[in-house]
């Protein structure tokens, strides 16, 4: 039973994982890539595509297969089956040094015995460009990442953030068709990370080539991506823009992984969903169903309108998060809700809360999807 397609929302369809058409022409088409390490499957028939000029993030926990997928695209791992097409050519047939793809490594991998400018010019020297051309492009690349002053320094003498910029310049100077970034910001501390996220984003817009970015940090993914591909245990869970994936999660896993959510496990009978003491009309077939309600969509109130549901509950905990408070509320029937309200000091220990029925998004149950995995 495909709950998602019967969503009562009429605007956007929740996207199910298939290689759909992203905006613009497709630069890279990944078809059914599978990979196992020994007996352990790491990627299971993953398919997706990357558009020209888009910033795609592959998001997932450790063990999801995201880094392995990236390394297969780069050429450092071989896939067991499947193909990757770039400009109608199967990339997997080429060794890494023949692919028009460059990588920014997680630990930067700068050559310690070469200076910054020698590092950046490495790929150009391999391609045997003229000295003048190399110098010009290296200068240009260093200026782009604001590292011109350090051209003659050795990598050991510059900071982590600076090394990362050099790694970026070294990759971009070769004008690849696709840039791969393997969790490049994970070693930086929080504020530097935020700055670099913005810089990467504007850099990508400025240069215009496609970036494929791997991370486990969902906030980071939301901030910088044009689209997010969420991987779970080697399978593509959902691929959509950040707004789409947040507002219309396809599965319970997606809903929980990205941002906070409340998952309501309900039973649908005669077009009515029942969960605990709550019930509301839905346009779904009979049977079990899971709904996701975002904490910010729940507010204080008693559901005066017809399309809202309300409940009374006890405030168990109120955590101050700056602009908002995160409340943990237990309803009369025992259901626990996480609610995000504008920060205030005066919430009574018992209050009424409400949310619109349209904010209860039906999602596929990931636990159930696990059972279906055999097919």
């Amino acid at each position: 039973m495909n709950v998602a397609n019967d969503s009562q929302s009429e605007t956007q369809l929740t996207m199910t994982p298939t290689p759909e058409n992203p905006p613009g022409t497709q630069l890279l088409v990944i078809r059914k890539i599978a990979k196992s390490f020994g007996k352990k499957p790491v990627l299971r028939d993953v398919s997706l595509s990357v558009a020209e000029g888009e910033f795609l993030t592959i998001l997932g926990e450790s063990g999801s297969g995201k880094t392995t997928l990236l390394r297969i695209i780069a050429g450092f791992e071989n896939a067991d089956s499947g193909e990757i097409l770039m400009a109608s050519e199967n990339l997997l047939r080429l060794p890494p040094y023949k692919r028009r793809v460059n990588t920014v490594f997680q630990q930067y991998a700068l050559f310690p015995h070469l200076s910054v400018s020698e590092n950046v010019g490495y790929g150009l020297r391999v391609a045997k460009l003229s000295k003048a051309e190399i110098r010009a492009r290296v200068d240009e690349a260093l200026a782009m990442v604001k590292m011109s002053a350090y051209a003659n320094a050795k990598p050991s003498k510059i900071s982590g953030g600076q090394q990362q910029r050099v790694a970026l310049a070294r990759a971009l100077v070769n004008r690849p068709r696709l840039l791969l970034l393997d969790e490049p910001l994970s070693a930086l501390d929080a504020s530097l990370r935020r700055d670099m996220q913005q810089e990467l984003k504007s850099l990508q817009r400025e240069i215009g080539i496609s970036f494929v970015f791997v991370t486990h940090d969902q906030e980071e993914a939301m901030v910088i991506s044009d689209r997010i591909a969420l991987l779970r245990q080697g399978e593509l869970e959902q691929i959509a823009s950040p707004r789409e994936i947040y507002n219309r999660p396809a599965t319970s896993y997606t809903a929980q992984f990205i941002g906070h959510t409340n998952l309501l496990r309900a039973e649908v009978k005669d077009r009515l969903a029942r969960c605990g003491s709550l019930s509301w009309p839905v346009n779904l077939a009979d049977g079990p169903a899971v709904f996701s309600v975002r904490p910010e969509n729940i507010r204080e109130g008693t559901a005066a309108r017809a399309d809202a549901i309300s409940f009374r509950g006890t405030v168990l905990n109120q955590a101050f998060h700056g602009a908002t408070d995160l409340l943990c509320v237990q309803a009369k029937d025992g259901l626990i809700f996480v609610i995000r309200l504008a920060s205030s000091k005066g919430i009574a220990s018992e209050a009424s809360f409400e949310f619109s029925t349209s904010d209860a998004i039906p999602v596929r149950d990931s636990a159930q999807a696990n059972d279906e995995r055999g097919s």
């Binding site: 390490f37 790491v42 450790s62 063990g63 297969g65 050429g75 450092f76 791992e77 890494p96």
Partner: protein
């Protein structure tokens, strides 16, 4: 990262030429030893191809040879004494290099490590002059002193490496809980260095049993095993030598396998403890 297979997926087949070259270098390293072993069973003694008349005669002669066994006993005495000296001085030396700062530390470090790289003749000769000046008679004792001095560097290097892997916090915890420095040394530091010490002891034992360059100059009336063999070699080749050499070879093999298993086992255990969950 350590639990992963080799990370160069596409370069997994070694070039044929390199493989063949590696095999031939291994061959070069082992063929002489294999020939030695084979010929220790050769009826016609050393030399001649192909080997004929496989026999245990030479081994029988060997076991009846009193002088050889006396020298073996001497060598064992020297080896164990050398282990005692080297460890007793090498462990503090490693601790000193790791934890103390004093004028001349750099010189001290170089001096301690020098016998490792210097040809044995220089160490042997200089010690000979020392004993001569001091009027000491040459004998097993002087050989023991020579071995001990030369092999302190082995103990120091092994224990120093072990100290780097030691978690300083453990010793700090011990002090925090009320133990003094001496107690901490015996209860915390030493047990953690157990592997390094055993490894050092095995290495020192093997090197001492084989030591000939330094012993050459410090020898008195009693021979160590290598010197006994050396003496016979100067007089001519006897197949007995093949037999004893073969025995030495297999014994060394055994020791090094033990050493290696110990070290790999301990490293695997510490890695398992530190390893995070699953690959990304």
């Amino acid at each position: 990262m350590s639990a992963r297979p080799d990370r160069t997926g596409y370069a997994s087949h070694p070039p044929r030429l390199l493989q063949a070259y590696a095999v031939s270098v291994f061959g070069f390293l082992y063929l002489p030893i294999i020939a030695l072993v084979v010929y220790s069973f050769n009826g016609a003694g050393v030399g001649g191809f192909p080997p004929r008349n496989l026999t245990f005669d030479w081994y029988r002669m060997l076991f009846a040879d009193g002088a050889i066994w006396t020298s073996v006993v001497n060598s064992l005495i020297v080896a164990f004494a050398a282990i005692a000296i080297s460890l007793t001085l090498g462990i503090p030396a490693a601790l000193a290099l790791d934890r103390a700062n004093f004028p001349g530390k750099a010189l001290f470090r170089r001096l301690v490590l020098l016998p490792l790289i210097l040809p044995g003749i220089i160490t042997g000769l200089s010690l000979l002059m020392l004993f001569r000046q001091a009027g000491a008679k040459l004998g097993l004792l002087t050989i023991i002193l020579g071995h001990g001095t030369a092999l302190i560097s082995v103990a120091t290097t092994e224990v120093f490496a072990g100290l780097q892997k030691l978690d300083r916090a453990q010793e700090e915890a011990s002090l925090d809980l009320g133990a003094n420095y001496w107690q901490t040394f015996w209860r915390v530091t030493l047990p953690n260095l157990r592997l390094s010490i055993i490894g050092a002891a095995l290495l020192i034992f093997t090197l001492s049993m084989d030591e000939i360059a330094v012993s050459f100059f410090l020898i008195g009336r009693d021979n160590t095993l290598p010197l006994e063999i050396w003496g016979r070699l100067r007089r001519g080749i006897t197949p007995e030598i093949n037999a004893i050499s073969t025995i030495i070879f297999f014994f060394s093999l055994l020791l090094i396998l033990i050493w290696y298993r110990l070290r790999v086992g301990a490293e695997a255990r510490t890695e398992l403890a530190a390893e995070p969950a699953s690959p990304p």
